[in-house]
Symmetry: C2
Subunit: 121 residues, 2 copies
């Protein structure tokens, strides 16, 4: 399949509520915002998950086939489990093309995480 072909991305469940959130310096953080933000940080709180995410983020176009990133020293089911967690947190989107699933970084979500760590006042 050609890369230039328009592909409809699957709708990410709950992606409309992210990006959230105010910078951590903005004042009182609501319970709801704290829950959402904590879930995003949790997605990156595992070393293997972080390495998988980094591999995708550093791939050309911020996209990688699962076949490109699976050699991180854990089993294929474990890789799948971690990729699922990253998808559920909204940090990745995915798309099947033929045999393989391709994963894309969700740049706006990651930018929102960076923004809320912006402590400049």
């Amino acid at each position: 399949m050609s890369k230039s072909e328009v592909v409809e991305l699957p709708v990410l469940e709950g992606a409309d509520v992210v990006p959230c959130c105010p910078p951590l310096t903005a004042g009182e953080l609501s319970r709801a915002d704290a829950e959402r933000m904590a879930a995003m940080f949790k997605a990156l709180s595992d070393p293997v998950r972080l390495r998988l995410f980094s591999r995708i983020a550093s791939h050309p176009g911020g996209e990688a086939c699962v076949c490109d990133i699976a050699d991180v020293g854990v089993s294929q089911p474990t890789v799948s489990h971690h990729l699922k967690k990253l998808r559920e947190a909204g940090l990745l989107t995915s798309e099947r093309r033929g045999t393989w699933v391709y994963y894309q970084v969700a740049p706006s979500v990651v930018a929102a995480m960076a923004a809320l760590l912006d402590l400049r006042t």
Copy 2:
């Protein structure tokens, strides 16, 4: 270009007090860096911890007495436990003055976390 080619990671500006880390787009993430970064994200992966951290970050001077931030709806021992976790991850420093312990945000550490989420290439 071969996949196994060694990529030189950029040095993160101003990161001299922080143990890590290159942006996630910089390429292969080492196991050691992944462990360190995952621990920092883990510190912010709990909603109560995030609310405590936000309270301190939004306090004037990025500093707060434990007496200012303890009313987040959990017991005092739980607050202490969470503040300890944030300290251990390097996100907070603390200092006893008289009766109270004061917690300060470690801005360079938090800035480093924001920098490694910077996906601009």
